[in-house]
Every structure is written in structure tokens, then in C-alpha cells.
Amino acid sequence: MSGAEVSIRVNGSPVPLETVPDDERLLDTLRWRLGLTGTKEGCRTGDCGACTVLVDGRSVLACLTLAHEVAGSEVRTIESAGPDPEVDRVRHAFESAGALQCGYCTPGFVLALAGLLKERGPGATADELLEGLQGNLCRCTGYASIVRAVGLIAGAPP
């Protein structure tokens, strides 16, 4: 792969793409190259949302994205250390509501919700947020507590 955009930033740090194969998925770059295993592989077919990360603040499925396709972008995963008001807000709501069982889907849910808050602003309604979570599956079926967490984040409860 040639071109001027030779790196991505992951949680604030530059990651050069020169040694990343052209066919590598962002999911594999994060998990196997960078050791950021907080981003989960669920279905690898774009159905479950477990691999959701933020690319320039927008939720994206890392399993269906080539690393080179997001060259020049800022990627944020659940390991992101820096303060991020939306991610922090969602994390606290998940903690307060106990919104996890096995935890495998949790990073995807947290980043999908944080992305929705970034897009829609702090006034996003519970209905908007829940609709935006349709692509995130919890195989424990622990949705009730996730809905409660959404209620804590939203302007009005669902």
C-alpha cells in the first residue's frame, strides 16, 4: 500500500501502517498487533457489534474495516486512557446499573453508546439511544440492566 497516509492513531498514539498487511482488519490490528484485546471478536460478520470502536468519533465495526482504510484517522478503543466525556459518562452508567453479565459485549455497547452521544449530543433521548443499539447483541440476554444504564444517560428514561 502506498500513499501519504501511513499511520493511524490509536488511543492517542501513532501506529505506523507500513508493516500492516493490506488485507488486515482493524480488529486484528488492535487485538493481535497492539494487544488491545478489549475490542472483542464475536461473529466477525458485522452482526453482533462486539468489535465496535470509534473512528474519528463515529462507531465502526472493526471486523468489517481494513486497517488501511482508516489511515489518517483517530481510533478509540475501550482501553482509551485519556478523558473522554462521552465514554466516561457511559462507563459510569454501566457501573451504576450493573449493566453487564459476562462482559464480552460490554466494550462494544459502551463505544456504540458513546458514539451516539457524540453524534446526537447530551440531549439524546432513550428511544434514540436504544434504537442505535440495535446492532449490539448481548448473548447473556442481559438487556434489562443495559436499558437501565441507557435510562441513566438519556435526557428522559425509556
Binding site: 488485507d23 482488519r25 465495526l61 468489517l64 474495516t65 481494513l66 482504510e69 458514539g115 440495535q134
Partner: protein, 280 residues
């Protein structure tokens, strides 16, 4: 070693030249990638080169004198977020929101959906009812054609081996609606879908999707609806006609009988949805 080489040209000429660099079966075209990467995983496509369109200046949305031109690589989420799309082309807005999840729509594109021409495409039925035109670019310049002509059959289009989809043009705002039926909303595809729209001259367009081999316009059903606001009797006649006329097949997602019942019900609901929007 990578399974393919990724090329991302900065100009249309370079992109077209890249397509001419080898047999079409060995080159994959990548817009959002949400379908192509699945094909690669499942061995349905085995390109040695993948042409990425990400650097082409096609992520555009232009309203001009009532018509809308959508660049082929604009993420679907941007269409959904445009307040004019929602207000002036409600059927298109509803159909875009029926595609996958938010995270998928941040990458999936209209050009990809159209080029892919899946039988269950949510966007093709609506584009048919809007008399949308697709613009193709290739070595001999650009050409345009109606989406109805562009889509030939399941996964078959008029796209030449060295052509790319540049944009889709919708000639006018239309009162419209799109309804779908599927088992789960975000991670499933439609068993049946009905799109309806009302042209500037008050005539209707009706299209059915979700049934292989491709979405189809139903001009005789549209004719039944007439040009005045249709009363219940006319809507019922149109629904009966749709149930009789549509070529319905069974596949693993729905039986023929189920789909035939749905066509009538969903057509009635779609027409009423347009009526309500008029009153609102």
C-alpha cells in the same frame, strides 16, 4: 503475505486505469467494505487486487433545484442525518435506516448497495419508486441510466468491467414510504419490503423488494391507485392486484404463501403511511 494488494487512487482516471489493469474477476471494488469483506471471508470473491474508492471525491450530497445527487461513496449515515432527505424523501430516509446498524451505516454506502444488487437490498426498491438514475464512469466517459435498467438480476448489473458507480440522482422530492418485514431489525435482511412514492403529477410508483431475483416496479398496481387520493376501495383493489401480480418465490427466509399475504397488507399500510404524512 496479504491475500490481495490494496490500491487507493486519488483520481477517477487512475481508478478506471486500475480496473483495466487485469481481469475483472481479480479486482474487487471497495467502497464501505461491509459486503466485500464478508465475500472475501466466505470465499465468494478472491481478488488479487482491491480498489479502494476512499480517496475519490465522491462523498457528496447535493440538492439542486429540487433534485438530489448522492455521491456513491457517501456513508449511508450521512444520508440519514440530512434533514432534507428526511423531509423531502421520507421513503429513502426510512430505507436507509433499515440497512444494518448505526456502526454499519457509518461505512456502508449507496454505491456499494447498488453495485452489489442483492435481492434483499433495502435501497433498490425505493430508488425504483423515485425514478432514480445512476451515473457510471469508465474509460469512455460517463453514462446515465435508470436504476430499473441498471439492476438486471440478483447480483447482476449493467456495470461494465471497467466502470465505477459515481453517483445516484433523484429527480424530485416525493411523498414516499418504505416498509419492511424481517425477523430481527438490525442484523437480518428483509423477507419482504414495499416502497411507494407519489410523483409530482400525483401518479404512484409501487415497488416490491426482498424477493429474489430483484426488486421490481409494479406499474399496474400503481395504476389501480389512480391520481386522486385513493379511498379504501381503491387501496384494497391495488393490494389485491399486487398479491396476484407479484412473482413470489419461497426461499429459506420466507414461504411463498407468507410473502403473498404480506404484500397486500404492507401495500395498504405503505399507501396509508404516505396519506398520513400528507395530512401531518
Amino acid at each position: 503475505m496479504a491475500a490481495f494488494e490494496l490500491v487507493a487512487p486519488r483520481s477517477v482516471d487512475e481508478a478506471v486505469a486500475a480496473l483495466r489493469g487485469g481481469p475483472r474477476t481479480e479486482i474487487g471494488v471497495l467502497a464501505g467494505g461491509t459486503d466485500l469483506l464478508l465475500d472475501l471471508d466466505e470465499g465468494r470473491a478472491e481478488p488479487t487486487r482491491v480498489l479502494s474508492l476512499r480517496r475519490l471525491p465522491w462523498r457528496t450530497l447535493d440538492w439542486a433545484a429540487g433534485s438530489l445527487t448522492i455521491g456513491s461513496t457517501l456513508p449511508l449515515r450521512a444520508l440519514e442525518d440530512d434533514p432534507d432527505v428526511r423531509q423531502r424523501l421520507p421513503g429513502l430516509w426510512q430505507a436507509v435506516r433499515a440497512v444494518g446498524s448505526v456502526a454499519l451505516r457509518h461505512r456502508a454506502t449507496l454505491g456499494g448497495n447498488l453495485g452489489r444488487a442483492a435481492p434483499a437490498s433495502d435501497l433498490i426498491p425505493v430508488l425504483l419508486t423515485l425514478d432514480a438514475e445512476v451515473e457510471l464512469v469508465g474509460p469512455d466517459g460517463a453514462r446515465r441510466m435508470l436504476v430499473d435498467r441498471f439492476v438486471r438480476a440478483s447480483r447482476r448489473t449493467e456495470l461494465g468491467p471497467h466502470e465505477l458507480i459515481r453517483s445516484v440522482r433523484i429527480p424530485e422530492p416525493r411523498r414516499s414510504a418504505y416498509l419492511w418485514q424481517r425477523v430481527r431489525p438490525a442484523n437480518d435482511i428483509s423477507q419482504l419490503a414495499v416502497a411507494v412514492a407519489r410523483a409530482g403529477d400525483e401518479s404512484w410508483r409501487v415497488a416490491v423488494g426482498g424477493i429474489p431475483p430483484r426488486a421490481t416496479l409494479l406499474p399496474d398496481v400503481a395504476e389501480e391507485l389512480g391520481r386522486a387520493d385513493p379511498d379504501d376501495r381503491r387501496v384494497a383493489r391495488a393490494a389485491d392486484r399486487a398479491q396476484r401480480d407479484v412473482a413470489i418465490v419461497a426461499d429459506r427466509r420466507a414461504s411463498e404463501e407468507y410473502r403473498r399475504r404480506l404484500v397486500g397488507t404492507m401495500l395498504r399500510r405503505a399507501v396509508r403511511a404516505v396519506g398520513q404524512e400528507v395530512r401531518a
